[in-house]
Amino acid sequence: MKSCEQEGKIDAYLLGRLSQAESDAFEDHYFNCPACFQKTYARNELVDVIKYKGALIFAPEEEARRTVVETPKVSAWDRIMAFLTPRPWVAVAAAAAVLLVVIVGVVPRSNPSAPVFSAIEDATVRGASIETIDPAGAQAQAPAAFTWKAAAGASEYGVSLFKGSELVWSGTARDVRIALPESVVKGFEAGAAYAWQVKAYSAQGTMLSASARVEFTLAR
Protein backbone atom coordinates (compact mmCIF):
# COMPACT_ATOMS: atom_id res chain seq x y z
CA MET A 1 0.00 0.00 0.00
CA LYS A 2 1.32 3.39 -1.01
CA SER A 3 2.26 5.52 2.00
CA CYS A 4 0.94 9.04 2.41
CA GLU A 5 2.43 12.05 4.20
CA GLN A 6 -0.76 12.42 6.28
CA GLU A 7 -0.20 9.00 7.85
CA GLY A 8 1.69 10.62 10.70
CA LYS A 9 -1.56 12.17 11.92
CA ILE A 10 -3.43 8.89 12.41
CA ASP A 11 -2.44 8.33 16.04
CA ALA A 12 -2.92 11.99 16.97
CA TYR A 13 -6.41 11.86 15.43
CA LEU A 14 -7.40 8.67 17.22
CA LEU A 15 -5.96 9.84 20.54
CA GLY A 16 -7.79 13.17 20.29
CA ARG A 17 -4.63 15.26 20.04
CA LEU A 18 -5.66 17.24 16.96
CA SER A 19 -7.52 20.54 17.14
CA GLN A 20 -11.06 20.55 15.75
CA ALA A 21 -9.84 22.13 12.51
CA GLU A 22 -6.98 19.63 12.16
CA SER A 23 -9.31 16.76 12.94
CA ASP A 24 -11.83 17.92 10.31
CA ALA A 25 -9.03 18.30 7.77
CA PHE A 26 -7.74 14.80 8.51
CA GLU A 27 -11.25 13.33 8.19
CA ASP A 28 -11.70 15.09 4.86
CA HIS A 29 -8.36 13.58 3.88
CA TYR A 30 -9.20 9.98 4.72
CA PHE A 31 -12.47 10.32 2.80
CA ASN A 32 -10.20 10.93 -0.20
CA CYS A 33 -7.29 8.63 0.62
CA PRO A 34 -8.07 4.89 0.81
CA ALA A 35 -4.56 4.12 2.12
CA CYS A 36 -4.95 6.43 5.12
CA PHE A 37 -8.47 5.20 5.77
CA GLN A 38 -7.36 1.55 5.85
CA LYS A 39 -4.57 2.38 8.26
CA THR A 40 -6.78 4.56 10.45
CA TYR A 41 -9.42 1.83 10.59
CA ALA A 42 -6.93 -0.85 11.61
CA ARG A 43 -5.18 1.36 14.15
CA ASN A 44 -8.52 2.38 15.65
CA GLU A 45 -9.34 -1.23 16.44
CA LEU A 46 -6.09 -1.60 18.37
CA VAL A 47 -6.52 1.72 20.19
CA ASP A 48 -10.11 0.81 21.17
CA VAL A 49 -9.09 -2.54 22.62
CA ILE A 50 -6.20 -1.01 24.55
CA LYS A 51 -8.40 1.81 25.86
CA TYR A 52 -11.26 -0.43 26.98
CA LYS A 53 -9.38 -3.55 28.02
CA GLY A 54 -6.01 -2.04 28.88
CA ALA A 55 -6.44 -2.41 32.64
CA LEU A 56 -6.68 -6.17 32.13
CA ILE A 57 -4.10 -6.45 29.36
CA PHE A 58 -1.47 -4.36 31.10
CA ALA A 59 -2.02 -5.50 34.68
CA PRO A 60 1.66 -6.65 35.01
CA GLU A 61 2.95 -3.32 33.67
CA GLU A 62 0.66 -1.39 36.01
CA GLU A 63 1.88 -3.46 38.96
CA ALA A 64 5.53 -2.94 37.98
CA ARG A 65 4.95 0.81 37.67
CA ARG A 66 3.31 0.99 41.06
CA THR A 67 6.36 -0.61 42.66
CA VAL A 68 9.09 0.93 40.51
CA VAL A 69 8.22 4.10 38.70
CA GLU A 70 5.50 5.77 40.69
CA THR A 71 7.20 5.52 44.06
CA PRO A 72 9.41 8.62 43.59
CA LYS A 73 6.40 10.75 42.60
CA VAL A 74 4.95 10.83 46.14
CA SER A 75 4.42 14.45 47.20
CA ALA A 76 6.36 16.03 50.05
CA TRP A 77 3.17 16.32 52.11
CA ASP A 78 2.42 12.59 51.65
CA ARG A 79 5.96 11.78 52.75
CA ILE A 80 5.57 13.85 55.90
CA MET A 81 2.20 12.28 56.72
CA ALA A 82 3.57 8.81 56.02
CA PHE A 83 6.49 9.55 58.31
CA LEU A 84 4.22 10.75 61.12
CA THR A 85 1.80 7.83 60.86
CA PRO A 86 2.62 5.18 63.50
CA ARG A 87 3.47 1.83 61.93
CA PRO A 88 3.90 -1.62 63.44
CA TRP A 89 7.48 -1.91 62.21
CA VAL A 90 8.57 1.12 64.23
CA ALA A 91 8.86 -1.06 67.32
CA VAL A 92 10.88 -3.64 65.37
CA ALA A 93 13.13 -0.88 63.99
CA ALA A 94 13.69 0.54 67.48
CA ALA A 95 14.66 -2.91 68.77
CA ALA A 96 16.99 -3.38 65.80
CA ALA A 97 18.61 0.01 66.52
CA VAL A 98 19.29 -0.97 70.14
CA LEU A 99 20.77 -4.26 68.95
CA LEU A 100 22.94 -2.39 66.44
CA VAL A 101 24.30 -0.10 69.13
CA VAL A 102 25.20 -3.13 71.23
CA ILE A 103 26.93 -4.85 68.28
CA VAL A 104 28.83 -1.73 67.25
CA GLY A 105 30.04 -1.35 70.80
CA VAL A 106 31.31 -4.93 70.93
CA VAL A 107 32.76 -5.55 67.44
CA PRO A 108 36.38 -4.35 67.11
CA ARG A 109 36.64 -1.23 65.00
CA SER A 110 39.85 -2.45 63.28
CA ASN A 111 37.92 -4.81 60.95
CA PRO A 112 37.86 -3.72 57.29
CA SER A 113 34.55 -2.16 56.41
CA ALA A 114 32.17 -4.43 54.48
CA PRO A 115 30.67 -3.35 51.16
CA VAL A 116 27.58 -1.28 51.69
CA PHE A 117 24.37 -3.05 50.72
CA SER A 118 20.98 -1.85 51.76
CA ALA A 119 18.46 -4.66 51.99
CA ILE A 120 15.15 -3.38 50.85
CA GLU A 121 11.65 -4.49 51.65
CA ASP A 122 11.27 -6.76 48.62
CA ALA A 123 14.42 -8.67 49.37
CA THR A 124 13.59 -9.26 53.00
CA VAL A 125 9.88 -9.91 52.69
CA ARG A 126 9.97 -12.36 49.83
CA GLY A 127 12.93 -14.38 51.03
CA ALA A 128 14.27 -15.29 47.58
CA SER A 129 17.00 -12.96 46.43
CA ILE A 130 18.70 -12.46 43.08
CA GLU A 131 22.48 -12.45 43.09
CA THR A 132 23.90 -9.49 41.25
CA ILE A 133 27.23 -9.70 39.40
CA ASP A 134 28.26 -6.34 38.05
CA PRO A 135 28.68 -3.46 38.80
CA ALA A 136 29.28 -3.14 42.56
CA GLY A 137 31.56 -0.90 44.59
CA ALA A 138 34.00 1.59 43.09
CA GLN A 139 33.97 1.72 39.29
CA ALA A 140 36.79 3.13 37.17
CA GLN A 141 34.37 4.03 34.40
CA ALA A 142 30.63 4.30 33.81
CA PRO A 143 29.06 0.84 33.48
CA ALA A 144 27.44 0.11 30.13
CA ALA A 145 25.43 -2.88 31.34
CA PHE A 146 24.17 -4.65 34.47
CA THR A 147 24.49 -8.41 34.94
CA TRP A 148 23.00 -10.80 37.48
CA LYS A 149 22.44 -14.51 38.04
CA ALA A 150 19.27 -16.13 36.70
CA ALA A 151 16.33 -16.51 39.07
CA ALA A 152 14.32 -19.75 38.97
CA GLY A 153 11.09 -19.45 36.96
CA ALA A 154 11.81 -15.90 35.84
CA SER A 155 10.43 -14.88 32.48
CA GLU A 156 11.38 -11.24 32.64
CA TYR A 157 13.57 -8.99 34.75
CA GLY A 158 12.90 -5.40 35.69
CA VAL A 159 16.00 -3.33 36.37
CA SER A 160 16.04 0.01 38.20
CA LEU A 161 18.87 2.50 38.49
CA PHE A 162 18.96 4.97 41.34
CA LYS A 163 21.07 8.04 41.95
CA GLY A 164 21.15 8.27 45.70
CA SER A 165 17.59 7.14 46.45
CA GLU A 166 16.00 8.68 43.37
CA LEU A 167 14.99 6.44 40.48
CA VAL A 168 16.69 7.69 37.32
CA TRP A 169 16.03 4.87 34.86
CA SER A 170 14.27 1.53 34.60
CA GLY A 171 14.14 -1.12 31.92
CA THR A 172 13.19 -4.74 31.29
CA ALA A 173 15.17 -7.70 30.01
CA ARG A 174 14.48 -11.34 29.18
CA ASP A 175 18.10 -12.33 29.74
CA VAL A 176 20.41 -11.94 32.75
CA ARG A 177 21.98 -8.80 31.31
CA ILE A 178 20.68 -5.42 30.33
CA ALA A 179 22.59 -2.82 28.33
CA LEU A 180 22.07 0.74 29.47
CA PRO A 181 20.92 3.27 26.88
CA GLU A 182 23.69 5.57 25.72
CA SER A 183 21.95 8.59 27.24
CA VAL A 184 22.06 6.93 30.68
CA VAL A 185 25.72 5.91 30.36
CA LYS A 186 26.68 9.44 29.35
CA GLY A 187 24.65 10.86 32.23
CA PHE A 188 26.67 9.15 34.99
CA GLU A 189 28.45 11.68 37.19
CA ALA A 190 31.94 11.00 38.53
CA GLY A 191 32.03 10.74 42.31
CA ALA A 192 28.26 10.31 42.62
CA ALA A 193 26.74 7.35 44.45
CA TYR A 194 24.45 5.11 42.41
CA ALA A 195 22.55 1.94 43.15
CA TRP A 196 20.77 -0.62 41.04
CA GLN A 197 18.33 -3.38 41.65
CA VAL A 198 16.85 -6.23 39.64
CA LYS A 199 13.47 -7.88 40.14
CA ALA A 200 12.37 -11.14 38.54
CA TYR A 201 8.87 -11.63 37.18
CA SER A 202 7.01 -14.76 36.11
CA ALA A 203 5.35 -15.04 32.68
CA GLN A 204 2.12 -13.91 34.37
CA GLY A 205 3.84 -10.77 35.66
CA THR A 206 4.05 -11.84 39.31
CA MET A 207 7.20 -10.69 41.08
CA LEU A 208 9.21 -13.76 42.11
CA SER A 209 12.30 -12.31 43.74
CA ALA A 210 14.46 -9.23 43.94
CA SER A 211 18.08 -8.39 44.50
CA ALA A 212 19.34 -6.08 47.21
CA ARG A 213 19.93 -2.54 46.06
CA VAL A 214 23.62 -2.70 45.06
CA GLU A 215 25.58 0.50 45.42
CA PHE A 216 28.42 1.64 43.21
CA THR A 217 30.36 4.83 42.73
CA LEU A 218 32.28 6.23 39.80
CA ALA A 219 35.88 7.30 40.25
CA ARG A 220 36.46 11.03 39.92
Partner: protein
Protein backbone atom coordinates in the same frame (compact mmCIF):
# COMPACT_ATOMS: atom_id res chain seq x y z
CA UNK B 1 -21.54 13.89 -14.01
CA UNK B 2 -20.86 10.25 -14.86
CA UNK B 3 -20.27 8.32 -11.64
CA UNK B 4 -20.55 4.57 -11.09
CA UNK B 5 -22.92 4.71 -8.12
CA UNK B 6 -22.59 1.04 -7.12
CA UNK B 7 -18.85 1.37 -7.04
CA UNK B 8 -19.08 4.63 -5.12
CA UNK B 9 -21.30 3.04 -2.46
CA UNK B 10 -19.03 0.02 -2.13
CA UNK B 11 -15.99 2.27 -1.78
CA UNK B 12 -17.43 4.81 0.66
CA UNK B 13 -19.72 2.73 2.86
CA UNK B 14 -16.90 1.64 5.20
CA UNK B 15 -15.51 5.20 5.39
CA UNK B 16 -18.90 6.79 6.12
CA UNK B 17 -19.71 4.00 8.60
CA UNK B 18 -16.41 4.56 10.42
CA UNK B 19 -16.96 8.31 10.73
CA UNK B 20 -20.59 7.87 11.83
CA UNK B 21 -19.65 5.24 14.43
CA UNK B 22 -16.95 7.51 15.84
CA UNK B 23 -19.40 10.41 16.06
CA UNK B 24 -22.33 8.45 17.50
CA UNK B 25 -20.38 6.03 19.68
CA UNK B 26 -19.60 2.40 18.84
CA UNK B 27 -22.45 1.01 20.94
CA UNK B 28 -25.15 3.06 19.19
CA UNK B 29 -26.98 0.74 16.73
CA UNK B 30 -28.34 3.74 14.80
CA UNK B 31 -24.98 4.12 13.08
CA UNK B 32 -25.95 1.67 10.36
CA UNK B 33 -29.25 3.44 9.56
CA UNK B 34 -27.56 6.84 9.57
CA UNK B 35 -24.83 5.51 7.27
CA UNK B 36 -27.40 4.13 4.80
CA UNK B 37 -29.34 7.42 4.89
CA UNK B 38 -26.17 9.34 4.07
CA UNK B 39 -25.35 7.09 1.12
CA UNK B 40 -28.94 7.41 -0.19
CA UNK B 41 -28.70 11.21 0.13
CA UNK B 42 -25.42 11.17 -1.78
CA UNK B 43 -26.90 9.02 -4.58
CA UNK B 44 -29.87 11.39 -4.77
CA UNK B 45 -27.66 14.48 -4.91
CA UNK B 46 -25.43 12.96 -7.60
CA UNK B 47 -28.46 11.94 -9.69
CA UNK B 48 -30.11 15.35 -9.33
CA UNK B 49 -26.93 17.11 -10.38
CA UNK B 50 -26.40 18.79 -7.01
CA UNK B 51 -22.89 17.37 -7.03
CA UNK B 52 -21.21 19.29 -9.80
CA UNK B 53 -17.67 18.07 -9.29
CA UNK B 54 -16.41 21.32 -7.77
CA UNK B 55 -14.80 19.28 -5.02
CA UNK B 56 -13.74 15.63 -5.00
CA UNK B 57 -16.49 13.06 -4.44
CA UNK B 58 -14.76 12.16 -1.14
CA UNK B 59 -15.00 15.72 0.16
CA UNK B 60 -18.61 15.94 -1.03
CA UNK B 61 -19.55 12.74 0.84
CA UNK B 62 -17.64 13.95 3.90
CA UNK B 63 -19.69 17.18 3.90
CA UNK B 64 -23.01 15.29 3.59
CA UNK B 65 -21.87 12.94 6.37
CA UNK B 66 -21.00 15.81 8.71
CA UNK B 67 -24.39 17.51 8.15
CA UNK B 68 -26.38 14.31 8.72
CA UNK B 69 -24.49 13.60 11.96
CA UNK B 70 -25.27 17.11 13.23
CA UNK B 71 -28.97 16.60 12.32
CA UNK B 72 -29.03 13.25 14.09
CA UNK B 73 -27.56 14.69 17.27
CA UNK B 74 -30.00 17.64 17.22
CA UNK B 75 -32.91 15.28 16.66
CA UNK B 76 -31.84 13.04 19.54
CA UNK B 77 -31.40 16.04 21.80
CA UNK B 78 -34.96 17.17 21.04
CA UNK B 79 -36.34 13.70 21.75
CA UNK B 80 -34.46 13.51 25.03
CA UNK B 81 -35.76 16.96 26.04
CA UNK B 82 -39.40 15.94 25.33
CA UNK B 83 -39.55 12.49 26.88
CA UNK B 84 -37.15 9.83 28.07
CA UNK B 85 -35.82 7.71 25.22
CA UNK B 86 -36.69 4.03 25.25
CA UNK B 87 -32.96 3.35 25.35
CA UNK B 88 -30.53 2.22 22.71
CA UNK B 89 -29.94 -1.49 22.55
CA UNK B 90 -26.99 -2.70 20.51
CA UNK B 91 -27.45 -5.57 18.05
CA UNK B 92 -26.66 -8.66 20.18
CA UNK B 93 -25.07 -10.64 17.35
CA UNK B 94 -22.79 -7.79 16.37
CA UNK B 95 -21.94 -7.15 20.00
CA UNK B 96 -20.92 -10.79 20.50
CA UNK B 97 -18.72 -10.76 17.39
CA UNK B 98 -17.09 -7.48 18.32
CA UNK B 99 -16.52 -8.62 21.87
CA UNK B 100 -15.01 -11.91 20.68
CA UNK B 101 -12.61 -10.15 18.29
CA UNK B 102 -11.68 -7.60 20.96
CA UNK B 103 -11.01 -10.45 23.39
CA UNK B 104 -8.73 -12.21 20.91
CA UNK B 105 -6.92 -8.98 20.14
CA UNK B 106 -6.48 -8.28 23.86
CA UNK B 107 -5.00 -11.75 24.38
CA UNK B 108 -2.69 -11.23 21.41
CA UNK B 109 -1.44 -7.94 22.89
CA UNK B 110 -0.81 -9.71 26.19
CA UNK B 111 1.19 -12.36 24.36
CA UNK B 112 3.52 -9.87 22.66
CA UNK B 113 7.16 -9.65 23.66
CA UNK B 114 7.77 -7.06 26.40
CA UNK B 115 9.58 -4.67 24.05
CA UNK B 116 6.42 -4.37 21.94
CA UNK B 117 3.95 -4.53 24.83
CA UNK B 118 5.83 -1.80 26.72
CA UNK B 119 5.55 0.57 23.78
CA UNK B 120 1.81 -0.10 23.32
CA UNK B 121 1.28 0.31 27.04
CA UNK B 122 3.02 3.68 27.27
CA UNK B 123 1.92 5.06 23.91
CA UNK B 124 -1.74 4.06 23.73
CA UNK B 125 -2.75 3.18 27.29
CA UNK B 126 -0.79 5.82 29.20
CA UNK B 127 -1.16 8.19 26.23
CA UNK B 128 2.42 9.41 26.40
CA UNK B 129 3.86 11.16 23.39
CA UNK B 130 6.27 9.34 21.09
CA UNK B 131 9.13 11.40 22.54
CA UNK B 132 8.14 10.62 26.14
CA UNK B 133 7.94 6.90 25.37
CA UNK B 134 11.34 7.09 23.66
CA UNK B 135 12.88 8.79 26.69
CA UNK B 136 11.36 6.32 29.12
CA UNK B 137 12.53 3.27 27.18
CA UNK B 138 15.88 4.72 26.13
CA UNK B 139 15.19 4.35 22.41
CA UNK B 140 14.71 6.83 19.58
CA UNK B 141 11.26 8.25 18.68
CA UNK B 142 11.57 6.61 15.27
CA UNK B 143 12.10 3.27 17.00
CA UNK B 144 8.89 3.84 18.99
CA UNK B 145 6.88 4.19 15.75
CA UNK B 146 8.68 1.23 14.27
CA UNK B 147 7.79 -0.97 17.25
CA UNK B 148 4.15 0.18 17.27
CA UNK B 149 3.82 -0.60 13.57
CA UNK B 150 5.57 -3.93 13.89
CA UNK B 151 3.42 -4.86 16.91
CA UNK B 152 0.33 -4.11 14.84
CA UNK B 153 1.58 -6.38 12.06
CA UNK B 154 2.17 -9.18 14.57
CA UNK B 155 -1.31 -8.70 16.02
CA UNK B 156 -2.93 -8.75 12.59
CA UNK B 157 -1.11 -11.97 11.83
CA UNK B 158 -2.18 -13.54 15.10
CA UNK B 159 -5.85 -12.73 14.38
CA UNK B 160 -5.81 -14.35 10.96
CA UNK B 161 -7.69 -17.66 10.85
Amino acid sequence: MNIDLDRMVAEFKPVVGFKVKKALGGGNPDWEDVTNEILLQVIEKVRSGEFRGESSIGTFIYTVTGRRIVDYIRQKTRILKGAPDAGILPDPQEEVEREERAKRLGEAVRGLKPRFRDVLYLYFYKEKTREEVARELGITPAKVSERVNYAQKLLKKSLEP
